[in-house]
Symmetry: C2
Subunit: 221 residues, 2 copies
DNA sequence: CAAAACCTTACGGAAATCCGTAAGGTCTTA
DNA sequence: TAAGACCTTACGGATTTCCGTAAGGTTTTG
């Protein structure tokens, strides 16, 4: 079993619950932090001292306060850590249950587990730790279809960018110019129209307003 | 000090933290529930047995699961309870920091405190309990300007309705027809345009898409 | 390689939006 | 009651979105 674990979560009370689970698994070398930057520094220095952490359990959303942070979210933290220390196992523990988030964390950033905070959260943390220790990937039941299903996986970063800019108030013409100046292809007004039209059909939206409302509800932007 | 308290929060681990605070205040008669409906029933039956709860500390968002619930959110719960039992003190304890939510809870539903979950959440819970016990209203610092300021309080139900329908994908023409068929005045296309234009200016939105994105972020719809 | 499939881009027209102006109605106030 | 403020409604034009069609380029496939 893991012997050295770091918990990162800005709500102290949740840390307590996770710690209880770790106790139950006989894991006593547990460190807690409340800021992403602290998590990064702890892991880095432990690694340099040849006493690396084996597992990180982290939340995604951290309330910002007066302390300026390099890593504003758990996602940024996971991304960086997994690049730098691929051997470090990472369990994400979040209330966030949007499929796109799960997908990004697991597939892109290579997190090892995604556990939704909820009534059974701590039980799932237990299961996740065991699965991850065995080299597996654990995903909460309520979001497990994020990976498998043939759901809206075919929307890509380009589409997200379009939707993002649209929701920022840019006209389609302005989006076209934005893409040109950022060397993103395709950039013609016609292409912007085509892609947004495709998205409208995909999400069964009546118009661009409806589309933005829908994807915001879905948490895609 | 309060002697009989109910905590309602679907994440067991958070309950633990709040319970610690209550312990520190010498409050030992504490009950916990994980569903809004349970909270309602407990309070109702305690009242009927002439042993009413004095204080409810509740979350707003509850994950839905297999159990069908009459009260889907903490907001519904607070609304109902405060109507039925005005003497019951209510502290809302939520990660939600949108001003409109705070306003509705405090002004419309008459909650006694609004505490944002965060790094200092438990300290604030402590302060809130003391303030509320003294008959006051407590609001977390980060959202306290929700009430005082002269902010966008002048947007009314009619505006919300327009924004709602707009985000549902109706064109302005369709909204006009919708208003006519529901006998809501004013209903002309021109008026719909005017009001939406006013809202665009108010929220500094470039266009209708931008407007919907903004008010969705603000939690107005 | 050639055909097919796909994508990008351009263009044009219908519809919707954005944004003035103006007329008429309602409410407030002196 | 009369003037003023405010609101609703109508209308017209500029701009933007919506939605086809078509030409040219790139990628896939046999």
């Amino acid at each position: 079993m893991f012997s050295k674990v770091l918990i990162s979560d800005d709500l102290g009370s949740i840390n307590q619950g996770v710690r209880t689970v770790l106790d139950g698994l006989g894991i006593t070398n547990v460190t807690q932090v409340q800021y992403c930057d602290d998590a990064y520094l702890k892991i880095k220095s432990a690694y340099q001292n040849a006493e690396p952490f084996h597992l990180l359990i982290t939340d995604l959303s951290f309330k910002s306060d007066h302390r300026a942070q390099r890593y504003a979210s758990g996602e940024d933290l996971v991304k960086q850590l997994k690049q730098e220390y691929p051997d470090l196992k990472v369990i994400v523990y979040s209330v966030e249950d949007r499929l796109q988030k799960v997908r990004t964390l697991i597939q892109t950033h290579k997190a090892d587990a995604y556990v939704c905070k909820g009534r059974n959260g701590l039980k799932e943390i237990d299961a996740a730790i065991n699965t991850v220790y065995g080299g597996g990937i654990y995903i909460s039941q309520q979001v497990e279809h994020a990976l498998s299903s043939n759901s809206n996986l075919e929307i890509n970063d380009y589409d997200i960018e379009l939707l993002q800019q649209l929701s920022n108030g840019l006209s389609q013409d302005e989006i076209s110019n934005f893409l040109k100046s950022n060397a993103i292809a395709p950039s013609s007004l016609s292409s912007v129209e085509k892609h947004l039209n495709k998205l409208r059909i995909q999400f069964k939206a009546n118009n661009a307003i409806h589309l933005v409302a829908i994807v915001k509800d879905l948490g895609l932007i």
